[in-house]
Symmetry: C2
Subunit: 223 residues, 2 copies
Amino acid sequence: IFSTKGLTKVYGEGRSAVHALRGVDLDISEGEIVVLLGPSGSGKSTLLNIIGGLDRATEGDAFFQDQNLCEMTDKQLTRYRRDYVGFVFQFYNLMPSLTAHENVELVTEIARDPMDPDEALAMVGLRERVDHFPAQLSGGEQQRVAIARAVAKNPTVLFCDEPTGALDSMTGRAVLNVLKDVNEKLGATVLIVTHAASQAAMADRVIHFADGNVREVVVNKNK
Amino acid sequence: IFSTKGLTKVYGEGRSAVHALRGVDLDISEGEIVVLLGPSGSGKSTLLNIIGGLDRATEGDAFFQDQNLCEMTDKQLTRYRRDYVGFVFQFYNLMPSLTAHENVELVTEIARDPMDPDEALAMVGLRERVDHFPAQLSGGEQQRVAIARAVAKNPTVLFCDEPTGALDSMTGRAVLNVLKDVNEKLGATVLIVTHAASQAAMADRVIHFADGNVREVVVNKNK
Ligand SMILES: Nc1ncnc2c1ncn2[C@@H]1O[C@H](COP(=O)(O)OP(=O)(O)OP(=O)(O)O)[C@@H](O)[C@H]1O
Ligand SMILES: Nc1ncnc2c1ncn2[C@@H]1O[C@H](COP(=O)(O)OP(=O)(O)OP(=O)(O)O)[C@@H](O)[C@H]1O
Ligand SMILES: [Mg+2]
Ligand SMILES: [Mg+2]
């Protein structure tokens, strides 16, 4: 469902240039769960933002089905994101002036086949917090609202940037089970970016990432 | 150096009231490293914000040395924070319009015995990123700027709210070593709030926290 060829991202110029992505080639099959594992600063969020249609590469191609995201206009990228992509951001990006319920509803209102917002919030253990504003939620609760919002959209592809960073192991496992359900029952292709190696267990394949490129790809035989 | 008695924090009223802290009694000795461990939503950030002088309790007392924070005016709390406290926030709270170097310098300029900002940034592996703005930094890099900023102040007490949440295990270990150094070489009392049980190894004592109160306190004999 995804195929990138020589995907490159450079910030700045000359001596202070930062090569965030160095010619990345990778493929993701429809319905797969892929975990992208790598250290801080290795380029994981940059890669996700480009194939999620939120940012543009400096060079290279990124195909979603048979369309090249790198050749799309801003309008086309917006439509791609709206119609196909659920995104859990590393920094949540919740609307501070809306409650948890309203934050999820903002996305389900314009989705083609959404879940009920409160049902998605219940799946991540937030039934008691649906009317709280982000400022009235703990770090881990805010992260879970961001997950509920992406999952409730019932997207074709679900991109998750560090989805359990702020969660204790029990809550983190519950959230990973929600992501697994969305994959198994709704057929979403799931790409999880993380630095936590323990999450590799749920993946069909694990892509090891460092310094802006793929180091190795491991097929998970234990799954 | 800290002693809380019946510390309570309630948000809201009546049926929708949230009891974030339920009469917390705890003591912290000078020069200790204490890890506060608990699940998402258990009240860890709330507790830290109150003894860090950033928020007020609904009931109870919190003594820093012999002064009761719960009886201080806003001005006195501001002076307490400025003179004694280094704080690593769960959401970093960096100034978006300042570079990493300037963010750290903002704090060292008004501190009594600070480190050099770039030295603190080098300690957390960010020598190459001192002139980047927060938006030009990865999640883990932003978290490390927040840590450098708190540590550079050379504070009497260092409060860290989930200091390694966005960091891979290698970078996370490096950061915990920086916190250990600040404790051993500079004598800072360090309170680390986290949901990651692996961090308990570096503590003198581990306070297990759940549902707004202390469950048990474990002295670390292996240290
Ligand atoms: N706008 C920018 N200008 C310059 N450098 C940037 C910019 N954005 C990101 N970078 C750099 O690109 C590199 C990759 O960033 P990215 O956010 O993709 O890393 P990451 O793997 O997600 O890290 P983390 O695990 O810490 O979130 C980092 O070293 C960062 O400093
Ligand atoms: N302003 C507020 N109004 C109402 N409830 C609040 C408010 N701030 C926090 N809470 C609630 O208080 C509880 C404790 O929050 P706190 O942020 O201290 O948890 P935490 O242990 O830090 O969690 P995490 O590990 O997820 O960061 C949470 O259930 C949260 O929903
Ligand atoms: Mg990132
Ligand atoms: Mg918290």
